[in-house]
Symmetry: C3
Subunit: 393 residues, 3 copies
């Protein structure tokens, strides 16, 4: 009786449900083949364990960070200039705006134009503004760089030169190079306390960058130093800039943008106290020498006053300074069974590929390849009889 | 002798270590089956190469962008109103606050209330505030929309109407519709220079949106234009708003929020110069006509003055304007051997599924299915003899 | 004739292209084995359907959120202090800076130092500042906590005590504890309207947190309440703080940072109206009792005035308050054929692993294991004859 008949009968007896199909395996017992096989397997397993499990921590579930940052700058600067005289600058003077979210700006250099009022005055001499008669000055015209609207008259800027008259905040700001050395050179000694609270919601883990072991007395005097005080959350501006391999005084002249990077990479399978922030500092705006188009960082702002006669005057300040953007990165990992299984599964699947590789080698390059082929493959052709070849008689 | 005995002996001889097990394969030689098989394989391979490798760039390692943005607005506006007179507005006047991180606000319209001082005055007439006697005005009461605290007295607002008296910054702001056309209509010609420095840390790749080929002289006069100047980082406010298919003057009346999107999608296997920013503009706050609840964007701020008699006065400004949020997106990819292998592996695994599909077809729909089944499957039952069927006698 | 010869000939006839190789399968018909097999399969399938498809929504393509936030605070506070007298505080007074991106600060408590001018005065007595003679006061010295630069003279602070003289903004700020109860205790009744517009670009889906069914009249009076008004986008500050399980008045004294979380989790296979924001509130800065180093949140800012004699004076304000950071999270999912196929594929691959597990059980623990092994495995040894063992004679 043929197996076919066997089948039909058997199916009717024990229901298909209990069929368990497993592939038929040919076991080749050869030192060469075996060795190749085991080595490839070893490699794959090594990869899985080494890379996936240990390096990538594949057995962990990960969570990304939630963080809040507040900053507090301390320090005093003294300036002594002709138009301002001897002057003290404190936090309220040089932090603009007084509070920001995870970012703060420190004024390091400035061009001040005092007692501006809205009236008519002669433009600063330039190719565009110098005129000989009113005809040169188109009324209502405003150039891209001009600070006011032309009245159409050509007036004396001084005894020698005539320029177009404008309606503007007069006297006009002299938009020349900022003072060098910078006016608030003292800013390099300012310190900033960065308070950073983080949370990994998935693991309900909270921490702050003021670590438990830090006590108040230490915080009162400490200053961050990578080697001596790596945990102190108070930073000297100069140190931060120098960590980014920049010179503070140079940077202070035209200003710039600094990144304060706080990195929390926490393995929560380890004690929580091992989860500490790492600080890095980098200059964000590149001071590309070939392209000197408006280098550094500056902006204009004004303080508004009213004279007795109710006329509004203002002090215009072109402020150069360093903006510190505080960026908090981080990830936490904790053992999680699902992730573990997923990675093991993927690993086993990868192991399956080993057979493919080995077969290739065994059946193509080995001397006994034909012998192995015979064993591995059986053939069935459309021509029925030849299909029977390796079925039992 | 039975294979079982063979095993036991052989195991003892050549150790299990060198066993290499490979599945036994039945090769069916039939045009139909073969065709089906190859076609499915072709499809899968096409998918892997086409989608994974080419489209998704599966052979690349990717890195996300780090970026810093600074902005600088230029331009002058002229207003001529009854209470302010002819007035010039420059950057220091219309950018509030003077500096922000990756965002800037341009004042386009305003309601000014000058010379406010802390004293008593009559509320603006409204259903809630009109009164006939003190009884109508509860002392200490403050409504959700009222601008001060009631003193409990009912006073003349003018000859005809009496309203409750409040302690507040008087005169009270008349909270009516903003001027239309907007006061700073000139704002449409303001230009903003956006400086964006990006970094792909993993590949240590830095770039800025002021591309190397842009020289200072070009930057001095250029204005972004999608067709003529797509690389100029200076944008005219009106252009940005129109790119978002909005009308500037309409938007300027009530204000709004615009998104300036800078997208860096860089294939670092290509020359770095191919990695350029793409700019897009979109309105973020939807001006939904059905819901006119406080449309647009506005906020109140004040300038504080002191009169000679040391009394504090302020000018209250309800400022309407457009806030531009600059959002930098981007990703970089570079060839990475691990990613490549991973994708190839996944592909091969997918190829394995082909067999599943083909078997289904071959063993269910083909005419010769029974014949093939016989070849593919051999059966072993719990009843021992029938278990022997296709073992050699 | 040997199969080997068969091969060679057949290859020459029907070309390799049409070879279809499928593994030879051994079907074991045994209740035990079958049951084990089916159960494991059931588990895997359950996992795929349950976890991947239903829970993780594996059949969906996901997109992350783009969002813009604007806020508007309303409310009035009254203070009555010795140096300020009876005073009204409105939005322009207590929101600093007047506008921020997705964040706002509400002043709740303050220490005011009025009429500061740049001149010389005696330091506030402290261990560091008290002196007996000029020798104790090094000229030009500025301590980390000192508010000015020492002139080198030792002067009377009052009749009893002498302190070093400093050049600073005088009178100096008395940096003592903030008032308790907080000055702007009324702030608890301030309300804030949060306008949040979101977009899922991939699905071109837009929505705002002012839901369509909310009409203007409702918005005028409603206040968010988790149970009664869960859709009202107007929040009472006190409610927000209490949702975070904090006491407003306590928090207001030293200030703090609050997170306003808006979560949009949208299944876009469902009607869009089901996609609604969920609000959560949490305190971000931890008020950790063990570490009282500069708790809460405060900063200094100043209002600048000019007296008639053109001398600049300022009012220094140390402002304590609550900063509300609005964070918008969210994800949208929509059916996507590619994702679906990918997950099914992965599922099938996983099913493959079932065989591995079952084989393990069947061939190691079952009583009939040897019998099954004989069927599953055939062996070929390097010694040819023994290689022939289970080939037909």
């Amino acid at each position: 009786m043929t197996p076919a008949q066997d089948n039909s009968r058997c199916v009717s007896i024990c229901q298909l449900f209990f069929d368990y199909s497993t592939p038929k395996i040919l076991v080749i017992r050869s030192k060469k083949v075996g060795a190749i096989n085991r080595i490839t397997q070893a490699l794959v397993i090594a990869y899985i364990i080494g890379y996936v499990c240990v390096w990538e921590k594949g057995y962990q579930d990960t969570d990304s960070i939630l963080s809040s940052v507040t900053t507090k700058v301390k320090g005093i600067a003294v300036t002594n200039t002709f138009d301002l005289g001897l002057r003290i600058w404190d936090v309220a003077d040089y932090i603009i705006p007084p509070q920001e979210e995870s970012s703060f700006f420190v004024l390091t250099n400035l061009i001040v134009t005092q007692n501006q009022t809205q009236k008519h005055c002669a433009e600063i001499p330039s190719v565009a503004s110098i005129c000989s008669s009113d005809k040169n000055c188109k009324a209502g015209f405003r150039g891209p760089r001009s600070k006011g609207v032309r009245t159409g008259r050509c007036v004396n800027f001084n005894h020698t030169v005539k320029t177009c008259e404008v309606l503007a905040w007069c006297p006009l700001e002299r938009d020349d190079e900022p003072p060098n050395p910078p006016m608030l050179a003292d800013a390099e000694n300012f310190t900033v306390l960065v308070k950073n609270n983080i949370r990994f919601p998935k693991f309900n883990f909270k921490k702050r960058n003021i670590l438990p072991q830090i006590n108040s007395s230490y915080l009162k005097h400490c200053v961050f130093n990578r080697s001596t005080d790596p945990e102190c959350p108070i930073f000297r501006l100069k140190d931060m800039v120098e960590e980014a391999e920049e010179d503070f005084q140079t940077m202070a002249v035209h200003g710039g943008v600094m990144e304060v990077q706080i990195r929390w990479d926490c393995d929560l399978d380890m004690p929580g106290s091992w989860c500490v922030p790492r600080y890095n500092f980098r200059r964000l705006d590149n001071k590309d020498p070939t392209n000197t188009v408006s280098p550094g960082y500056n902006f204009r702002f004004a303080k508004y006053y009213k004279e007795g006669d109710n006329e509004e005057t203002r002090t215009l300040i072109k402020g150069y300074g360093i903006r510190f953007d505080i960026m908090v990165f981080g990830q936490a990992g904790k053992f999680y069974i699902v992730s573990t299984l997923l990675n093991i599964g993927a690993g086993l699947a990868l192991l399956g590929l080993v057979t493919v590789v080995c077969d290739l080698i065994v059946l193509t390059f080995m001397t006994k390849r034909n012998h192995y082929r015979e064993q591995k493959y059986s053939y069935v052709d459309d021509c029925f009889d030849s299909g029977r070849i390796n079925r039992p008689p």
